[in-house]
Each structure stands twice: as structure tokens, then as C-alpha cells.
């Protein structure tokens, strides 16, 4: 059951990612990117990490995807234009792919049976965040608040 689900979700995600990379219209590419993220979230669900999957949907579909489509809408005049072929992009993609494949093939843990892990409940994540990781959490919070204030200052009207 879970193997079949994995194959279906993986094909779905890869197809969406491929579409995001190859579609002509930038807006379509952005929307396919959102679909690929839904597939990723489904994979997290399959692994029992529901919180991570939900956070992924929440942040990436609810905020980042909307941000991307708005950026495209507000900055591009030539949304429909052909973008041409980007050789540098291909080179970087190939390099990343080779690097990942190399490091995956070099690991020895592929043959080891995964140890039994406790279910990743929201409660456990919350406890970890509030005890061991409280300083990183506070720092991230501070950074985000600073970013929010910065964004406000950027769009604030100048007093005439």
C-alpha cells in the first residue's frame, strides 16, 4: 500500500517539477511549482511527519507560492514571451544532480534497516522547540520581526 502510494506521489511530484522547469508561461511554471510542493507535503505525510507536511503546505502554498505569482504579475511585462534556452542553468542543474547522486551512492546507510522511531507528534516538536532549541527559535522570531518592520519601512509613504 505505502509503496504504491510512494510511487504515485513520486511520479506526480516529478511530473509537476518537470512542468515547472519546462513550461513556456512563467505563471504556469509557478503554479506547477506549487503542485510539486503539494506532492512533497504528501511524501512527508506518508513518512508519518504530519506536522512537517502541514507546515510545508501552509508556508509554501499559502505564502511563498502567492508571493511568487504576485512577483511575476507585478514585475514582468513579457509574461507570455519565450524565455529562450538557459545553458548556464542546465550546467548548474547537472552539477547539483551529479553531486547529489555521488553523495547518495557513497553513503553506506542505504543497506541498513532503519531503526524504529517514535511517531513525530506535534507535542514532541513543540517540546523540542521550547527546550533545546529555544534560542534558535527566538533568533528566527527576531529576524522575522525585523524583516516585517523593514518591509513596512520600504512601503511607507514619505511625508510631503
Amino acid at each position: 500500500m505505502s509503496n504504491a502510494a510512494f510511487v504515485i506521489i513520486a511520479i506526480f511530484t516529478l511530473a509537476a517539477a518537470l512542468a515547472a522547469a519546462t513550461l513556456r508561461k512563467l505563471m504556469h511554471a509557478a503554479l506547477s511549482f506549487a503542485v510539486a510542493l503539494v506532492g512533497l507535503a504528501a511524501l512527508f505525510f506518508l513518512l508519518g511527519a504530519e506536522f512537517v507536511g502541514l507546515a510545508l503546505v501552509f508556508i509554501y502554498i499559502g505564502a511563498v507560492a502567492v508571493l511568487i505569482v504576485f512577483t511575476i504579475l507585478l514585475t514582468r511585462r513579457d509574461v507570455g514571451k519565450d524565455r529562450g534556452f538557459n545553458w548556464a542553468g542546465v550546467l548548474i542543474a547537472l552539477a547539483v544532480f551529479c553531486g547529489l547522486t555521488w553523495s547518495i551512492l557513497k553513503t553506506q546507510s542505504l543497506s541498513i534497516v532503519a531503526p524504529h522511531i517514535r511517531a513525530l507528534t506535534v507535542k514532541r516538536i513543540g517540546e523540542a522547540l521550547m527546550t533545546g532549541y529555544v534560542w534558535p527559535l527566538q533568533c528566527v522570531g527576531l529576524l522575522l520581526t525585523a524583516a516585517l518592520i523593514g518591509a513596512l519601512i520600504l512601503v511607507m509613504e514619505e511625508k510631503r
Binding site: V57, F58, G62
Partner: protein, 395 residues
């Protein structure tokens, strides 16, 4: 006896699944999911049909008219006539529209609205989809609505559609903050993101009389009102129906939709309204718990749907009473009043918890809320600053 009536739907599902006994595990799982999905759709699409005619009746009553009364007894079959009309209408897609995205937007928005219904506990043991982070699921899935609205507005290739979508997204983003932050005190006090746990934490009665619903604590009462107002905005209802303000931008992101696609948007809006009302009943009004101990013999799902219909009536009532707000006033309200009050609820809930959850905690948290409320009303008082109106346009 009352227990078996209470569990009649659960038992019926078990009985249906017992036919499949002996088949592999995944068959039973899929069958169980399908039964849940089917029941959800059946119940809520019927409720949608019913509420669409009841809303027109109630609005008509408030405006001293008759309302629909031609199809069937008391006009009750009106939704069937409307449905047939919507189905056989011509589906017009603008020539310069993005055909695929234009088609996918109503599909996505309806799917998202129906998905959010899945995590609400409708009665004892009657949550269609039990998940550890149910509340988070609700908001995570619900946040895809914004993308769907954008798709509708962008794909229509129409200035009204785009403006409507921008307005809708702006207001949804602004009010999503108070909506989620007012849930936080409940989650903090209960210590769980599971809707079932939140409902069971509200069981019992203080002095054997007043139910322990969160709406009866100061922080819960304020959070409930804030949540309800944000819910009004999220489901684009009057007085916050700026995205589809007919007098300004035709119908907002739905301008270029006709026939059944328009009906799908309409349905998604109502189902979103049911979901938000259901969640506020779960979070603050004790879910499926009875208000008085004597009435506990009445099945739990009856109580849930009574609370839901009460909230839906208030939605309709507000629609019949209040005019539309202006978008800048609405935004000011969200960021300058709703958000600070939502944070105050979080602090007041903490005060309530640490002062012992009793009368002392009750009074202290009331004190915190009253202080912040009066400070905000003094700060936001604009009565002294009346002057010539300044018009601003998008540059």
C-alpha cells in the same frame, strides 16, 4: 438507548465495513475513507442547498418581502431549480483567458473548501479525518484558497477580475493573522492541536450549571468574537464582501465565470462559511457538548448542528443588517485593532491559566482585556481628526 442513538452513524459505518471483513487491510481503509467522504459531501451539499433558500427567505423576511415561494412547498425546492438552471447555462470562457487555469480555479477552490470540513468533530467519535495537527490542517489547507482566488483573477484576463482577486488576497492575508492567533489561546489551554481533544477539554459544568465552554471565559469570549469577525472576512460575507463589491468591480474574481463554474465558486464560499462556523463551534462553543446536563440525552451531532445553524443564522442576520465596509477602513481595523486584541487574548489566557483557572483567573484575565481594550480605543480614536478627505490612487 440514548447512547445507541448517539452512536447510530458510527455503528452504521461499522456495519457497512463488516461486509468487507476478511479483505486486505488497505481495502477496508479505502472503503472507510470513501464512506466518510460520501457522508461529508451528502450532508454539506444538502445543507448548502437548504441554506441558500433559507438565506433568501430570512433576508426577505428582514426586508418585508416574501422571498422565493413558487417552487415546491414554501419555495423549498428552489435550490433544485437553481441547480438545473446553473447546469444548463452556457459556459462562457473569455477568448483571451488562460483556459486551463481558468478551469482549474473553481475546482481548486471547491476542493479546498470541502477538505477543510474533514477535521471537524461532528459528534462523539464522529471526526471524518483524525489527525494529530487537525487545527493546523484546517488552516494549512485553507490557505490554498488564496492561490485559487489569484488563479481565477489572473486567468480571466480582466481588470475587474484582477482587482477583485488582489482585494480578496489582501483581506484574506490580513485577517488570517487574527483568525489564527485567536485559536492560539485555545490550543495553549488545551495543550493539543487535535479538535477532538479541544472538544473533550470543554466537557463538564462549573457549579453543575454553566458549561465549561471557552466562550464563557473572558479570553474565550473575546477570541470567539474576533474569530467570528475574521471568519466573516475569510468567507467574503457582508459587511466584508469588498472583493466582489457589485457596485465597484462587477463581481471581483468571479466576473468572467458563468453557469456551473460560477455556482462552484458560490458553493465553495458557503462551504467555507460552514467550515469556519463549525470550527468556531468546536473551539469556543464546546463542540458537540450539550449546554445543560439534563439535555445530554439528545445525540451529540444534533447539538453540533444546532450550534452550526445558530452561527449561520447570525451570518445571514449580519448580511441583512450591515452595509459594506470600505477596503482601507477594513485593513486599518485588521492591523490596528484585531491583531493587538488577538495577542491580548493569548496573554489573557496565560494569566487565566497561571491564576488558577478559577474565579481569580477569570477576573484577572478580564482586567487585562479591559485595560488593553480601553488603551486601544483611546489610541485609535480618530474623532478629533476630521478634515477634508484625501484621495489616494495606485500609482
Amino acid at each position: 438507548m440514548s447512547k445507541s442513538i448517539d452512536q447510530v452513524f458510527v455503528n452504521a459505518k461499522q456495519w457497512l465495513l463488516s461486509w468487507l471483513a476478511g479483505s486486505p487491510d488497505w481495502v477496508i481503509q479505502v472503503a472507510s475513507i470513501l464512506i466518510n467522504v460520501f457522508m461529508l459531501l451528502a450532508v454539506f451539499l444538502t445543507l448548502f442547498a437548504l441554506i441558500s433558500v433559507l438565506e433568501r427567505k430570512i433576508l426577505a423576511r428582514m426586508q418585508n418581502r416574501y422571498g422565493p415561494n413558487r417552487v415546491g412547498p414554501f419555495g423549498l425546492f428552489q435550490p433544485i431549480a437553481d441547480g438545473i438552471k446553473m447546469l444548463i447555462k452556457e459556459d462562457i470562457v473569455p477568448a483571451r483567458a488562460d483556459k486551463i487555469v481558468h478551469f482549474l480555479a473553481p475546482v481548486l477552490i471547491a476542493a479546498v473548501a470541502i477538505l477543510t470540513l474533514a477535521v471537524i468533530p461532528y459528534g462523539r467519535n464522529m471526526t471524518p479525518f483524525t489527525i494529530d495537527g487537525g487545527i493546523l490542517f484546517f488552516f494549512a489547507v485553507g490557505s490554498a484558497t488564496e492561490l485559487a482566488v489569484f488563479m481565477a483573477g489572473w486567468a480571466s484576463n480582466n481588470k475587474f477580475s484582477m482587482l477583485g482577486a488582489m482585494r480578496a488576497i489582501a483581506q484574506m492575508f490580513s485577517y488570517e493573522l487574527p483568525l489564527i492567533i485567536t485559536v492560539l489561546p485555545v490550543v495553549m489551554v488545551v495543550g493539543s492541536l487535535m479538535p477532538d481533544r479541544i472538544v473533550s477539554a470543554q466537557a463538564g459544568y462549573t457549579f453543575g450549571l454553566v458549561p465549561r465552554w471557552f466562550v464563557f471565559t473572558p479570553w474565550g469570549g473575546v477570541a470567539f468574537i474576533l474569530f467570528f469577525v475574521s471568519g466573516l472576512v475569510e468567507s467574503n460575507r457582508t459587511p466584508f464582501d469588498v472583493p466582489e463589491g457589485e457596485s465597484e468591480i462587477v463581481a471581483g474574481h468571479m466576473t468572467e465565470y458563468s453557469g456551473f463554474k460560477y455556482a462552484t465558486f458560490f458553493m465553495a464560499e458557503y462551504i467555507g462559511m460552514f467550515a469556519v462556523s463549525g470550527l468556531s463551534a468546536t473551539l469556543f462553543l464546546g463542540g458537540w457538548h450539550a449546554p445543560v446536563r439534563v439535555l445530554e440525552i439528545v445525540p451529540s451531532y444534533v447539538w453540533f448542528f444546532l450550534k452550526l445553524s445558530g452561527l449561520l443564522f447570525v451570518y445571514i442576520w449580519i448580511r441583512g443588517t450591515l452595509p459594506r465596509t470600505r477596503i482601507d477602513q477594513m485593513m486599518n481595523f485588521a492591523w490596528k485593532f484585531m491583531l493587538p486584541m488577538a495577542f491580548t487574548c493569548v496573554i489573557a489566557a496565560a494569566v487565566w491559566h497561571y491564576a488558577g483557572r478559577g474565579l481569580r483567573g477569570w477576573l484577572w484575565s478580564l482586567f487585562v482585556i479591559v485595560m488593553v481594550y480601553s488603551a486601544l480605543s483611546i489610541l485609535l480614536d480618530t474623532r478629533r481628526k476630521f478634515g477634508p478627505r484625501v484621495y489616494r490612487f495606485a500609482e
